[in-house]
Symmetry: D3
Subunit: 334 residues, 6 copies
Amino acid sequence: MLRLSTPGNERFSQARQFNASFGGGEANVAVSLANFGLNVDYVTRLPKNDLAEACLMELRKYNVGTDKIIYGGDRLGIYFLETGAVARASKVIYDRANSAIAGIEPGMIDWDSVFEGARWFHWTGITPAISEGAALTCKEAIVAANRKGITVSTDLNFRKNLWKWGKTASEVMPDLVSGCDIIMGNEEDAGKVFGIHPSGADVTGGHVEASAYESVCRQMMERFARAKKVIVTLRGSINANYNTWSGVLFDSKILYKAPIYNITHIVDRVGGGDSFMGGLIYGLITYSGDDQRALNFAVAASCLKHTIIGDFNLVTVNEVEMLMGGDGSGRVSR
Amino acid sequence: MLRLSTPGNERFSQARQFNASFGGGEANVAVSLANFGLNVDYVTRLPKNDLAEACLMELRKYNVGTDKIIYGGDRLGIYFLETGAVARASKVIYDRANSAIAGIEPGMIDWDSVFEGARWFHWTGITPAISEGAALTCKEAIVAANRKGITVSTDLNFRKNLWKWGKTASEVMPDLVSGCDIIMGNEEDAGKVFGIHPSGADVTGGHVEASAYESVCRQMMERFARAKKVIVTLRGSINANYNTWSGVLFDSKILYKAPIYNITHIVDRVGGGDSFMGGLIYGLITYSGDDQRALNFAVAASCLKHTIIGDFNLVTVNEVEMLMGGDGSGRVSR
Amino acid sequence: MLRLSTPGNERFSQARQFNASFGGGEANVAVSLANFGLNVDYVTRLPKNDLAEACLMELRKYNVGTDKIIYGGDRLGIYFLETGAVARASKVIYDRANSAIAGIEPGMIDWDSVFEGARWFHWTGITPAISEGAALTCKEAIVAANRKGITVSTDLNFRKNLWKWGKTASEVMPDLVSGCDIIMGNEEDAGKVFGIHPSGADVTGGHVEASAYESVCRQMMERFARAKKVIVTLRGSINANYNTWSGVLFDSKILYKAPIYNITHIVDRVGGGDSFMGGLIYGLITYSGDDQRALNFAVAASCLKHTIIGDFNLVTVNEVEMLMGGDGSGRVSR
Amino acid sequence: MLRLSTPGNERFSQARQFNASFGGGEANVAVSLANFGLNVDYVTRLPKNDLAEACLMELRKYNVGTDKIIYGGDRLGIYFLETGAVARASKVIYDRANSAIAGIEPGMIDWDSVFEGARWFHWTGITPAISEGAALTCKEAIVAANRKGITVSTDLNFRKNLWKWGKTASEVMPDLVSGCDIIMGNEEDAGKVFGIHPSGADVTGGHVEASAYESVCRQMMERFARAKKVIVTLRGSINANYNTWSGVLFDSKILYKAPIYNITHIVDRVGGGDSFMGGLIYGLITYSGDDQRALNFAVAASCLKHTIIGDFNLVTVNEVEMLMGGDGSGRVSR
Amino acid sequence: MLRLSTPGNERFSQARQFNASFGGGEANVAVSLANFGLNVDYVTRLPKNDLAEACLMELRKYNVGTDKIIYGGDRLGIYFLETGAVARASKVIYDRANSAIAGIEPGMIDWDSVFEGARWFHWTGITPAISEGAALTCKEAIVAANRKGITVSTDLNFRKNLWKWGKTASEVMPDLVSGCDIIMGNEEDAGKVFGIHPSGADVTGGHVEASAYESVCRQMMERFARAKKVIVTLRGSINANYNTWSGVLFDSKILYKAPIYNITHIVDRVGGGDSFMGGLIYGLITYSGDDQRALNFAVAASCLKHTIIGDFNLVTVNEVEMLMGGDGSGRVSR
Amino acid sequence: MLRLSTPGNERFSQARQFNASFGGGEANVAVSLANFGLNVDYVTRLPKNDLAEACLMELRKYNVGTDKIIYGGDRLGIYFLETGAVARASKVIYDRANSAIAGIEPGMIDWDSVFEGARWFHWTGITPAISEGAALTCKEAIVAANRKGITVSTDLNFRKNLWKWGKTASEVMPDLVSGCDIIMGNEEDAGKVFGIHPSGADVTGGHVEASAYESVCRQMMERFARAKKVIVTLRGSINANYNTWSGVLFDSKILYKAPIYNITHIVDRVGGGDSFMGGLIYGLITYSGDDQRALNFAVAASCLKHTIIGDFNLVTVNEVEMLMGGDGSGRVSR
């Protein structure tokens, strides 16, 4: 997906230029994983034009496999971004309708071949929001992954402005999520999609109460039997420049809590959740069995994402581990 | 319509920024007319979002009336532009499908009210190319204008990549053009839409033979009985930086020929035809009865357009008349 | 007025480019009002050149009426801005002497015609500072407005570097302010122009004591009998990036206090007071009778101004009301 | 003087940024001379502010002596530049009225001390155009230079938009020019200031007839007895991007002619005449007695100026001599 | 190699920013080939730092294989580029000494493994110029390629400023070139390295006489017995913006001549020769046996390179074939 | 030294442009001193190329004497800078090996002549790190300065990545430092170079305990008998955007402590230590005998440096004294 953002903090009505980059939920996770050194393929449908070709090039640049992408349709999805400040919120204008991925239909991708040799499949709640075909293809992929015994993860990623094809997230998501082993979301996702609510959280007010989320996680696991782990990202929005950031992971027994980071001078928070998921998958695979460390890696990695312009989280394992080790001092490395 | 162009001569795959401006056939003509001091309203359908609002603001900036615009639909049409050089052609990627204007339907605009007090209605062949609704609405407007005795002009503006809604330009355009008083096109338009061809022209090779176009004009007037004047723009493409530029006007008796300009260092040729039409309408209204002068104004105005970045022709009547008077020396004015 | 600001935090000696926009006290208020949906005309004197024309276009873009502007004189006023950071103050270099507006003389504007149908006239203390003619014209306008029963508001806006034409602010302003219904200023204005001081305020130190300003307001109302409301903006300057922001409104009986906002990452504070005035006029007109709400709207609107680059406050009523409602979390709107 | 130019070929109404540099007739000549290795001081009057300080720094950067500059006044002169293309002329908006140099008066500069050890004094026709004080100070300097036996040169540089202080160039210039040893101008200068016209030249049309200027030179020398050499720069304006460029030097006996250069892709022609004068003074001093070589150096140096952005001619003696030697091929030097 | 070029036509002393891209003889050829759809690996030695990593990413973006690159040494080579105009030449400042590739030594690369499955090996005369180790490694690679029967091509690419390690090009190159099947150069290369001169050519003067080069080709083939084809690129330097461009190919019997292209508005000529070689290798492989077509493809491809900013030739086979087919009109493709 | 920094907070892999400026320890101190009004010469060795020439020009711009610079060698040292944010550290890639200054040898500079009339010589620990020749030349200069009775100051400036020529800082520095009168460092310098450690400091954690450094200072003075004052800069790294900043000065009897500044929105911290040294030398010279004031000036000056982009501290004495006086409110100066 093409991301077009106004320079600095300009409003849409002020912009004479847009900074162009590429992003989108699953692509962001793929770049994180490739960047941390894992083998990863991005599977999507793209049109045959120079913009999509530029998108492909960018993925290749970051070492994401692009051989399984299929081609067709007329346009690349776009989102426009205006970056807020202090009490002024950032604004996203989606222009994704009728994109190539929205035109996908079951049967277009040979999932058995795609999943050959794979061990993990990740999807997000943005894909089924785009079109019925995308939702059905999502289902098709989850079924195929389950059949092959591949771990399936999802980021609920509820975006109310995207669900316009006829069904609501509440109607579509439960069936898809029921095929997942790892479920990630924030308290808004759980509430708006499944009607599951935490108690005592006041997100707008900037307060973050990790322990209050155990009930959400527990309810999620009760509802989705296949789930092994439920993860909640915890964002405390002090203002558009200053957030707190953390997360919890629940494995049906223990609620692991990560440190809370003060992100006092955010560079770019878009893609924060995706970078959390990228860090989490890396952590779960690499620190196999050590869920606390996997969670801490995810939170530290995504904390660093907030300092990188663009959707992609371009930090190294080394940088993440340095922050996990407690050094967030930002002293010059020379 | 939002125009997103790569900086300088960058290819799409090199661009990290797009320059953003607004344009589109009819809007470009409207800006030309407002800029020359005429009262003009731009009538279209726009979505209710910040990008469309920015587009509105830009039109207002150049004094184009925006009160008759209607609102609805989901997106603003976009086109991406990569500016070529020498033997490398410029490329346009249209992303206009499903734009607000594509979703227009007859009955949405009250043409009688729109045309209250108006004396001229201009449309281009791009609008009926977008969707059946847009084609029907075009027809509706032409009929209303004819009924009110308003002069109707058109720029044939054939774009083969836009005609995708089911019918071809050859099927749709004749009926629309039959309601026009003034018809403008280039030799490609006439050939591809109506099968009318000039003899002996070699456009790709850069040669321009004004007199060869009389037969095209004559055939057009025979076919479209309402037409009072047929105008052909004459572009000689030496290369992407260097074009010759001229035009002829045929009033069924005389073929008026304009001087040929050497545009040796083109800044931006997109919108060149629209600026010709803007100059022509201004000339026909202002120099009423002096078709030679009107044509010369149109050619000089659009020659100057090639020195302005963006779709809009931001030159003054004074600047055009100075060029018409023979001063194309480009000496510093101080 | 042309605003030329160095990019980012560059010093004047580092700048190779200036960002160009337009601004100035009254223009900023006009843009705020037009932007909030009110009908507004900006009345000034501009030279006939391309820079002034560009300024006009920008006002038109934001829907400010420009038909009542008169033309004459040789130059457009300029101010140069270097944006500070932390303990380094921003610097403004005024280059307004001999601008078109400085050359204005009583009689040039037909105020009776300008005020036809108007209900509000706003002027600022910057105008009489520029030249004797400007001061006299200000007086002329106030008298005309009083005669027509139009509400007159002023922002004292004391700038010591501008008062160079022979008289001091203390000599000129009292007569002008005596014709005003609504008087706005900060504690420095009141002190330096009228010798009226609050007690216990320590502005440089960053502390803001709203209640301490009641005495200032009361003294102002005693001095200026026509005044119905006196408003004081309260800025606590922690440093160049971080200010607190609030205001009080006194209606001779009650001192209304607004919430205090922490503006922790200022984007641009120039025009902050003007955006307060724009919000206040909008609030007083729209929430007629509810002075608390009008004040709160003014403070919230101008709080948001600090996140917008340029002099103009490009926020919507909706955005202001969201902040008034307590949501300053800056969460992404998508 | 501060030069503010729109980026690329943007019109004033399109510009959101201005490129900032410094320039002005005499400063441009000074930079040329310093750049070619001569000792040079720039004498002017500047205000005490950060913009003037930045101007000083820039002169120092290029090795121009700034110790003899005096301080006072309120503003630095400004000129705005919009760069044309093809048939669209570049536009200059002067904003120099009331600048520090306009406020200069005889007696402010101690010319005897300034000229201590100097061998050459150069002034241009722009200075006396600005104000009566500037014209009188010019006279004062010329008289002092004559008294000390210092060579005095002038560039007539007629700018009709600058002569606004009461007298015309024709009234003021003859007296000043009568103190000059070296007089440079173009055919327009001679005609508009002294009523001396060449025969058969058609400058707007782009034709350059070097030999036709002998009569102009001869008339100039007859009129100004002190003059040892009269130089005419010959610009053929094909269009805004493509000029021919040459010059002639007349020493009362021989008319030296330089080669004619085709400058097919002009980068920046402002300062072209100043760079000619800089090259000429360097050539006359360095190639003492070889006027042909001095003239050729001047023409080649100023030909190269057209490839440099900004007023200053930043080329080396070596580069000029390479072009004089016939290599204008522009092959990569590596 | 990192390329740092001044923006637009700025001189080094004016630049506050450098545009950063990557390039270098062999890398440029590799990108051309990958871009035309061939499988290609770039073999070099890079340091382990973020700049080299960014260089790798850029190669990957354009589909060049990077798995065979070895790591070591301290720095990435740099070249600084100032782009000239008209009579002012572009300047290159090399800063390649002590780069990672300069520190390469025979034995570091396992050529037998590198050449596994390869059919073509290309090197340029820049590599042996850098250091003795690089020259020896070049020799090592050529011997290995010869042993495996892989076609070896070279571009002589003589750069006198690079040969600083002790031996001259004339001492080193003959031995290396003797292992080559395809030899490309321009007339300067042949003359300066091997003392072989064409007759009657005047390169500086801009005249290009293709037929005069047959003697050079013939002498080359007599000297280097293994050579099957000798190719000479023909650049006519009218000035820095306008070159003619062509080439000849000699197969010991026939001298094939390509059309001569007028490149009237050069965007970037650096990498022109490399893009010729990339086109030639593609042509020789794809149009096997049709040397005329291969040559024409090479000339057309590299003609188009002059319209692309940066070292890499980012044009498609389709675009090259369109130009080969005679359409250099640069008409907008939409 | 050329500084090439990525724009904004871009990572090296994202940058398409580098901002170019000049810097380096000693140059930064020289610019500070010149800027505060002292006479200063920068002594170094530069290559003869356009980049070094541009560096010279920049120094001249800020009034630093450049006449004592010697020329030779092949390249100008470079450092690449990526500016971090929050928990992501800034990164510096040094590319200084084989620079002109690295090739310096004793005897190249005539120190007796350089020191003629001088009263102060400052060097930093970066110079001897670069090469053996640089270390020996440093020694040579210190000996010459001591001989002439010139005050010698040093900033220890330990950079482990620079010490690559064979000896360690611990081997080389003691002999050099023993010739110094004024020694400045941070706690890391003292520890890593001389094995002298403060107690109880936790720099990474952001806590700053001024009093804990007395023991470091005392140990330094015991070790280096010539030292009259030891200064420690105290940086508390909350994160990459927010540091506390202070310093202490020990004169063998009293430990002077400066106020601690909260630098909450750092613009550029590179050169912070150098600006401290520049402020200190200025203070010690100007406020002779008042060490507290000298220290306070140093801390305030370098606090302001953090708001200036680039290595150089472009603030005035007036601005520093305003901050020393307690006004760090950053209110607009107009």
